[in-house]
Amino acid sequence: MKNLVEVLVKSLVENPDAVVVNEVTAEQSITLELRVAADDMGKVIGKQGRIAKAIRTVIKAAAAKENKRVILEIIQ
């Protein structure tokens, strides 16, 4: 899951090296904490959160395959 978020995000941002994903696994859910360079926040959120929504949709599909719930938090 962590790897998937990295793959999705690194090609969208200007500073791929600053992309950090932290995975916190609970019994039935996974929380992913995404950190990117301050300048890249817009690149992962998008107008009205459109990009963030697309990223969440894709990771949800991957999580559903493993019968898990997944939460993506974008941390400033």
């Binding site: 790897n3 998937l4 793959v7 999705l8 090609s11 969208l12 009205q48 459109r50 990009i51 929504k53 697309a54 990223i55 949709t57 894709v58 599909a61 991957a62 559903a64 395959k65």
Partner: protein, 208 residues
């Protein structure tokens, strides 16, 4: 930087200046000569310099393919990905098992993947490239479903004389509904609401 325009005493000189500026080599670029050095007419309009435009060639097909391949394998799905670039449309078709997961409910996942790929591609291009991602002929099937739905609802509006609001759809899907019902002169269609909840409304035409 994807494109530079440089001047030199010869075409070759201008190109090599551009390559230095772009920090790349000759096989990665496309060049276009804008002006040639000329003597002009009787010393007038004399042009001492060659002017060239040098554009970095990016293999968009390959970039899209690699991006999606990485995503799909990180999801634990095996897929074969074919790409083709025609004019400004990049078409991508995925085949394999588990394609249902990549489509998602009403194509949500497919649309998200398409949107993300389009962002990655258009970050690299000067001119907008439309990215169309498909698998198992989903786009065509969805189009037929929407056309059927449009016709069915149009009939209902005509017989009940009451307007019908459809569920929210993306611009592409709304366009299919509008286009399908455009020639029907008993009803008219319009969209209302804000993205991403914008929806089509079918209403009866008032005969005056």
């Amino acid at each position: 930087m994807k494109k530079v325009v440089t001047k030199g005493r010869t075409v070759e000189e201008a190109i090599s200046l551009a390559l230095k500026e772009l920090d790349t080599s000759r096989e990665n670029v496309e060049t276009k000569v804008l002006e040639l050095p000329s003597g002009g007419i009787m010393g007038l309009f004399r042009n001492r310099y060659a002017k060239v435009e040098v554009i970095i060639n990016t293999d968009l097909c390959k970039i899209a393919k690699t991006y999606l391949n990485n995503i799909v394998s990180a999801m634990g799905i095996e897929a074969n990905i074919e790409t083709s670039l025609d004019e400004n449309v990049l078409s991508i078709v995925m085949t394999g098992q588990d394609m249902g997961i990549l489509i998602g409910r009403r194509g949500q996942t497919l649309d998200s993947l398409q949107y993300l790929t389009s962002l990655v591609i258009n970050k690299l291009t000067e001119q907008y490239v439309r990215v169309v991602l498909d698998t198992e002929n989903y786009r065509k099937k969805r189009e037929l479903t929407l056309k059927d739905l449009a016709e069915k609802l149009a009939h209902r509006v005509i017989s009940t004389k009451k307007k019908i609001e459809l569920e929210p759809m993306n611009p592409y899907e709304r366009r299919i509904i509008h286009a399908t019902l455009q020639k029907n002169n008993k009803i008219y269609t319009f969209s209302q609401g804000e993205e991403p909840f914008r929806k089509v409304v079918i209403d009866i035409k008032k005969t005056s």
